[in-house]
């Protein structure tokens, strides 16, 4: 820093601490609510210190033993659906994008540029602008209420293809030449040289795409009609159907905490790759 002013330093920490508090406040309240009975929360104002019902609430939502409106399917099952979808989406996106980027960078063939643009232009067609017809396609293919329906339509990735393309371009030509002289074919080169070099980028991409997959909402809303295929982010919606007093807010908040835990952990534990991946892909 250029100058030292203790007043300014104090202000800096004050503002940052305030920011952190405001960011954390909704989650704190949600956590507190998830440790009380439903009756304790509808008291106005609700308590702001943890209660004793934490274990009871969380085990009730996870196993589905909670009675009342909404969740007929245990949240444990929904978490499983979310986890499977998020992992399939993340791994699938990375796999097919690595292959396409490899083809586009390391081969010359007619239609190469066209293929790149065909993939790239999908950035302009988010799910939200083509929900009706895409739903039609998925339903014609009989993929409603299946993992295939939840994941495959989301698996194309312009961002991942673009990132890997940019990265492959920075890989020195000498590596490919040496591999060719040593008699390695393209796939051998891909698996033994290119893939190990891409590990950092793959990790970064995984964090971003896992969160993307886990947080899907509109798409599952369209393609799932059976509760056993609800991902957790969407399952919460069916729990808040009643009015203020009818909702079992303690269980809803326990579900909300469970729903944000896996992606939040991924972000915090893989922070370095996440930040790198985010800032690199978008630039």
């Amino acid at each position: 820093m250029v100058e030292r002013r203790s007043a300014l330093t104090a202000l800096t920490h004050l503002i940052l601490a305030l920011g952190v508090l405001i960011v954390a406040f909704p989650v704190y309240v949600a956590f507190i609510a998830s440790t009380h009975t439903a009756d304790a929360i509808v008291q106005v104002p609700m308590p702001l210190t943890p209660g004793n019902e934490m274990l009871a609430n969380y085990s009730a939502v996870l196993t589905g033993s909670a009675k009342g409106a909404g969740a007929a399917v245990p949240v444990g099952r929904m978490m499983w659906v979310s986890l499977v979808s998020a992992v399939v989406i993340a791994v699938g996106k990375i796999a097919i994008s690595l292959l396409s980027a490899f083809a586009i960078v390391y081969f010359r063939f007619p239609g190469r540029t066209l293929c790149f643009w065909a993939i790239f232009i999908t950035l302009m067609l988010p799910v939200e602008v083509r929900i009706g017809p895409t739903y039609q396609v998925v339903s014609d293919l009989g993929m409603l209420n299946t993992y295939a329906g939840l994941t495959i339509p989301l698996i194309a990735s312009a961002t991942a293809t673009f990132l890997f393309r940019q990265f492959f371009k920075t890989v020195p030509d000498e590596l490919a030449e040496a591999a060719r002289i040593d008699g390695a074919g393209p796939m051998r080169f891909f698996f033994t040289i290119l893939l190990p070099l891409s590990v950092t980028n793959i990790a970064a991409m995984f964090v971003i795409q896992f969160i993307y997959g886990w947080n899907q909402y509109l798409w599952p809303l369209l393609v799932t009609t059976e509760e056993r295929m609800y991902p957790v982010v969407m399952g919460i919606r069916s729990m808040i159907a009643g009015g203020d007093a009818v909702n079992e807010w303690n269980l809803i908040m326990a579900t909300a905490i469970l729903a944000m835990l896996p992606p939040a952990l991924v972000v915090l534990l893989m922070q370095r790759w996440f930040v790198k991946g985010l800032v690199d892909t978008e630039k």
Binding site: V27, V29, V42, I152, N215, D244, Q271
Partner: protein, 293 residues
């Protein structure tokens, strides 16, 4: 930069591209073409027959007052989300950039809302602001302010703006912080030697140098407000009260899946596509320009 060393094969590149192109073709281009086709069709009430009506759906759409109102709602919503989201993130990033010790801790504590699903963010804020039991509604009532977003459209709008901004600030923060950290220290020191105080340095040196980041984030935030906030609206206000928070994406979903008005929904999809394409083009033109500096 093109590769000098390339592999030769007639079929291999196509085999490698096949999975991606198949998904893109079946789930992106085909539905987009269908949307274009349906937008020019009018179905009868039972969906048994349809006839070609040209631009009739679009004409009806733009003559529809609720659609124009939805445009206005979306515009207000995007401006508020992008404005507050960028301002708060810039404030926090500027101060985080000043911190010598504990910078990583602050970053860690500020970035995790990025991981929270928009729908979950909506539910959290809904709980804080629920009219009868919400803790913030209670505090507002104590201050003599009657809060009920189920009745008051302005309050409903501020609720979804708060939830959307809360979720987006962490993303903006990361980019601003990266932008600030890439500004050469020597420039700031030179300004300081010339006698410029912290505010003056921010206004005349730092902020202009951040303008590429700011512009990029502006586009991203508008796209976010247009499309990714569907879940927030659906989880909190469901477009209500009345149609006061029915943003465009919500209306496409509602008209297509609840109202079963396919022609209108498809026409709305086409309008949204035009908006995304316009935004993407703006973004790319600008990236091309930036490469030259």
């Amino acid at each position: 930069m093109e590769k000098r060393a390339v592999f030769r094969s007639r079929w291999l590149p196509w085999a490698l591209l096949a999975p991606q192109l198949a998904v893109v073709g079946v789930f992106f281009f085909w539905p987009a073409a269908q949307a274009l086709y349906q937008s020019a069709q009018l179905q009868d009430a039972f969906g048994t027959s349809s006839e070609f009506v040209g631009l009739e759906n679009f004409r009806r759409l733009f003559a529809d007052e609720t659609y124009i109102a939805s445009f206005r709602t979306t515009a207000i919503f995007s401006v508020l989300v992008a404005g507050f989201g960028l301002a708060i993130a810039l404030l926090l990033a500027t101060y985080a950039d000043r911190v010598l010790r504990g910078a990583l801790a602050y970053r860690t504590l500020l970035i995790w809302p990025y991981a929270v699903a928009p729908a979950v963010a909506g539910v959290l804020w809904l709980f804080l602001f629920a009219p009868a039991i919400g803790i913030v509604s209670f505090a507002l009532r104590q201050l003599g302010y009657e809060w009920n977003f189920l009745l008051d459209g302005t309050q409903a709008m501020s609720l979804i703006v708060m939830a959307a901004v809360w979720k987006q600030v962490s993303y903006n923060f990361l980019f601003f912080l990266a932008g600030l950290q890439s500004i050469p220290r020597s420039l700031i020191e030179a300004a300081a030697i010339d006698g410029a105080g912290p505010w003056r340095r921010f206004r005349t040196v730092v902020f202009p140098l951040l303008s590429p980041t700011t512009f990029f984030l502006l586009v991203i935030n508008i796209v976010y407000a247009f499309f990714d906030t569907f879940a927030i609206v659906d989880a909190t206000t469901k477009g209500g009260p009345g149609k006061d928070t029915a943003i465009l994406v919500y209306k496409v979903y509602y008209d297509g899946f609840k109202g079963m008005d396919l022609g209108s929904s498809a026409a709305q999809s086409v309008v949204l596509m035009a908006i995304v394409i316009a935004l993407t083009v703006v973004q790319f033109r600008y990236i091309e320009r930036r490469v030259q500096y």
